[in-house]
C-alpha cells in the first residue's frame, strides 16, 4: 500500500523539521509511479504531482505524524478535492418528462446502467421509460426489454429504423403515457467514429436531453482522456458514471476523466445486478486508487 511504499522511500526525513524539495523527491516519485500504475493519465499525473509538490514543500512536519503519513495525507486530500464535489442528484424537469441520455464506448456498461438508473428512480417514486435506441448491436433491444421486464419498467422499442427517430418517438411515448423520466440507451461507439458521434449530436439536438451521462469502464487505461474528452466536446456531458468498480481495478480513469473534462462523476456501478449502483464517493475512490 501507499504508506508502506513511501515509508521505504522517505524514512530518512524523520530527523528534519520541514519537508524540503530535496527530501520529498523520492517520496513523490513513489506517488507518481503508484498513480501511473493505477492508470491515471500520464499528463494528468504530471500536473497533479506539480501541485502536490508545491503543497508538500514547506509543510511543517507534525511531530506526532510520520512523514510518509503526511505525504499520503496531502496526496489523499488533494485527490479527494479534485474528484469532488459530489452531486448524485438528478435535476428533474418540472414541465414534461426528464430525459437522460447514456453514451460511451462499446461494452462500457450502458445498457445495464440504464436498467440500474430506472430501478433507482422508480424506487424514488419516479415513473421511468427505458428507450432502446441501440439498433446496431445484435439483441441489444431484447437485452433492454428483458431488463425492463425484470424491473417492471416499460421499454419503448422499434425493431428497425433510425436511432434519432426512436429517441424522439420514445419521448413522445412518455408524454402519451404520463411517464416522467426517459432513459435513452444508445449504441456503443468510438469517439473517432465521426458518423456515429454525429448521430449522438443529432439525438441531442432533436431530443434535448436534460442530462447526458458518459458511461466509462473503470478498467480503462491511458485512453480515458481521449474518449471522455471527445465525448465532452461533442455533447457537453452533465455527468460520468464509472462502471465495473466491483473488481480490483485501481480506477485511475476516474481522476483522468474528471481532471480533463471537469464533469462530475455522479454514480458508480458495483456489479452486474440491477441494484449495484451507488452514488460516487471520492474518499472510497481515492482509497482504491492509492492501493
Amino acid at each position: 500500500d501507499m504508506q508502506k511504499r513511501l515509508a521505504g522511500a522517505i524514512g530518512r526525513f524523520r530527523a528534519r523539521g520541514i519537508l524540503t524539495e530535496a527530501n520529498i523527491q523520492d517520496g513523490l516519485k513513489e506517488v507518481r509511479d503508484a498513480l501511473l500504475e493505477a492508470d491515471v493519465n500520464f499528463q494528468v499525473v504530471q500536473e497533479f504531482m506539480a501541485e502536490v509538490g508545491k503543497k508538500a514543500v514547506g509543510a511543517q512536519l507534525i511531530r506526532s505524524v510520520r512523514p510518509e503519513q503526511q505525504i499520503v495525507k496531502i496526496v489523499h486530500d488533494e485527490l479527494v478535492n479534485l474528484m469532488g464535489p459530489v452531486d448524485p442528484t438528478i435535476r428533474f424537469s418540472n414541465s414534461g418528462p426528464t430525459v437522460l441520455m447514456l453514451c460511451g464506448l462499446q461494452g462500457s456498461g450502458k445498457t445495464t446502467t440504464c436498467g440500474k438508473l430506472a430501478r433507482l428512480l422508480a424506487a424514488q417514486g419516479r415513473k421511468p421509460l427505458l428507450v432502446a435506441a441501440d439498433l446496431q448491436r445484435p439483441a441489444a433491444v431484447e437485452q433492454l426489454r428483458l431488463i425492463g421486464n425484470q424491473l417492471g419498467v416499460p421499454v419503448y422499442t422499434e425493431e428497425k429504423g433510425d436511432p434519432v427517430a426512436v429517441c424522439q418517438n420514445g419521448v413522445a411515448e412518455a408524454n402519451r403515457r404520463n411517464l416522467d423520466t426517459v432513459i435513452l440507451d444508445t449504441a456503443g461507439r468510438l469517439h473517432v467514429d465521426d458518423e456515429l458521434m454525429n448521430e449522438l449530436t443529432r439525438i441531442e439536438k432533436k431530443v434535448k436531453p436534460h442530462q447526458v451521462y458518459f458511461v466509462c469502464d473503470a478498467l480503462t487505461g491511458q485512453d480515458a482522456v481521449s474518449s471522455a474528452g471527445v465525448f465532452n466536446e461533442a455533447l457537453e456531458l452533465d455527468g460520468v458514471i464509472l462502471t465495473k468498480l466491483d473488481g480490483d481495478a485501481r480506477g485511475g480513469a476516474a481522476l483522468s476523466v474528471k481532471k480533463v473534462t471537469g464533469v462530475p462523476i455522479k454514480f458508480v456501478g458495483k456489479g452486474e445486478k440491477l441494484d449495484k449502483i451507488e452514488s460516487f464517493d471520492p474518499e472510497r475512490m481515492v482509497g482504491q486508487m492509492l492501493g
Binding site: 501511473l36 439483441a139 437485452q143 425484470q150 485512453d223 480490483d248 481495478a249 485501481r250 452486474e272
Partner: protein
C-alpha cells in the same frame, strides 16, 4: 517518432520516451526496463534510425511468437476453443469473427452459448451464428453453464464437428465463485473431449489499463489460458498491456479485433502492432 531524430539522448529525451510508452499502456515497470536499455546503449548519443530500430526490436522481441496466429487443433475428433474474459471485453463478437474465419478452411463449426446469466446473451450469439452460417447449442436462461457445455460436447462428438467454440459469461477475476464456475466448464469440456480445450483464449479490451495484467494472471491460473484476443484496436487505445502480459505471464496475442463486423478480426502482427504503438 520522426520527431526524435537529431535529438540528444539526454534526461529530457528519456522522459519523452517514457511518456510515449506509458501513454500506450505499456506500464511503469516494462517501460522502465526499455528506457534503461536505451540509456545503456545510447546515452548522450544522437537519436536516429538506429535508436528507433532498437526500441522497435525490444518490443517486437517481447511480442514475437513462433507459433504465430495458428490455433492448436485436435489430432482426431473435435477441436475445442474456450473463450473467457471480463465483462464487455468482446468475447461474443470475437467468437462470431473467429467462426467466420475458421469456416473458410471448410471446417464445420458449432458454437456453445454458455453465458446463461446475462440478459439476451444467447440471443446475441444466436444472431451471430445465423450470420456466420454456423450451428448453436444453447440452454435455458439460468441453466448451469457446465451443462450447456456438456450438451455442446455431446453434439460436437455425435455430429463429428471440426471446431466447437465455447462462449462464457463475462466475469471479473475477483469473483471467486464465478472463477470456480469457469473452471467447472473447462473441466466438463476436457473430460468429454480428451485433450481439450485445445486453446483457451482470453479476450482483452485494448482500452483496459494495468488491471489487464491481473486479469491475465488470474484467468491463466484458473483455466490455463493459451493466448489472447485483443479487441477494439480500431479505437485510439494502443493495447500496450500485452507487452507486460507476454513478459510476466507468457501469453501470446493470437488475434486482434478491429471493429464490430464479422470480418473485423486479424491475425496478430507484432511488427504492425509495434509501429502503431510508437507512432
Amino acid at each position: 517518432v520522426r520527431s526524435w531524430f537529431g535529438r540528444k539522448v539526454d534526461a529530457s529525451f528519456l522522459e519523452d520516451l517514457e511518456a510515449r510508452l506509458i501513454q500506450a499502456d505499456v506500464g511503469v515497470a516494462a517501460t522502465g526496463r526499455i528506457v534503461a536499455r536505451v540509456q545503456e546503449s545510447f546515452a548522450d548519443k544522437t537519436a536516429g534510425e538506429d535508436l528507433v530500430e532498437f526500441v522497435r526490436n525490444e518490443l517486437k522481441a517481447l511480442l514475437d511468437d513462433p507459433r504465430k496466429s495458428t490455433l492448436a487443433e485436435a489430432e482426431t475428433g473435435p477441436t475445442v476453443y474456450l473463450i473467457a474474459g471480463v465483462n464487455g471485453s468482446g468475447k461474443t463478437t470475437s467468437i462470431a469473427k473467429l467462426s467466420q474465419r475458421l469456416k473458410e478452411g471448410n471446417r464445420t463449426i458449432l458454437l456453445a452459448a454458455c453465458d446463461t446469466f446475462r440478459a439476451a446473451a444467447s440471443d446475441q450469439l444466436e444472431i451471430w451464428a445465423g450470420r456466420a452460417g454456423v450451428d448453436l447449442v444453447k440452454g435455458s436462461p439460468g441453466a448451469d453453464p457446465a451443462s450447456v457445455a456438456h450438451d455442446a460436447c455431446d453434439r460436437a462428438l455425435a455430429r463429428k464437428i471440426d471446431v466447437l467454440i465455447v462462449d462464457t459469461a463475462g466475469r471479473l477475476h475477483t469473483q471467486q465463485h464465478l472463477m470456480r464456475e469457469l473452471e467447472k466448464v473447462r473441466n466438463v469440456i476436457s473430460r468429454k473431449i480428451p485433450g481439450s480445450p485445445h486453446e483457451v483464449l482470453l479476450v482483452l479490451d485494448a482500452t483496459n489499463g494495468q488491471n489487464a495484467i491481473r486479469q491475465a494472471e488470474i484467468f491463466t491460473k484458473s483455466i490455463g489460458c493459451t493466448g489472447v484476443i485483443l479487441t477494439k484496436l480500431d479505437g485510439t487505445a494502443k493495447g500496450g498491456i500485452v507487452v507486460s502480459i507476454r513478459q510476466t505471464i507468457g501469453l501470446p496475442v493470437k488475434f486482434v479485433g478491429v471493429g464490430e463486423g464479422i470480418d473485423d478480426l486479424q491475425p496478430f502482427d507484432p511488427s504492425a502492432f509495434v509501429d502503431s504503438l510508437l507512432e
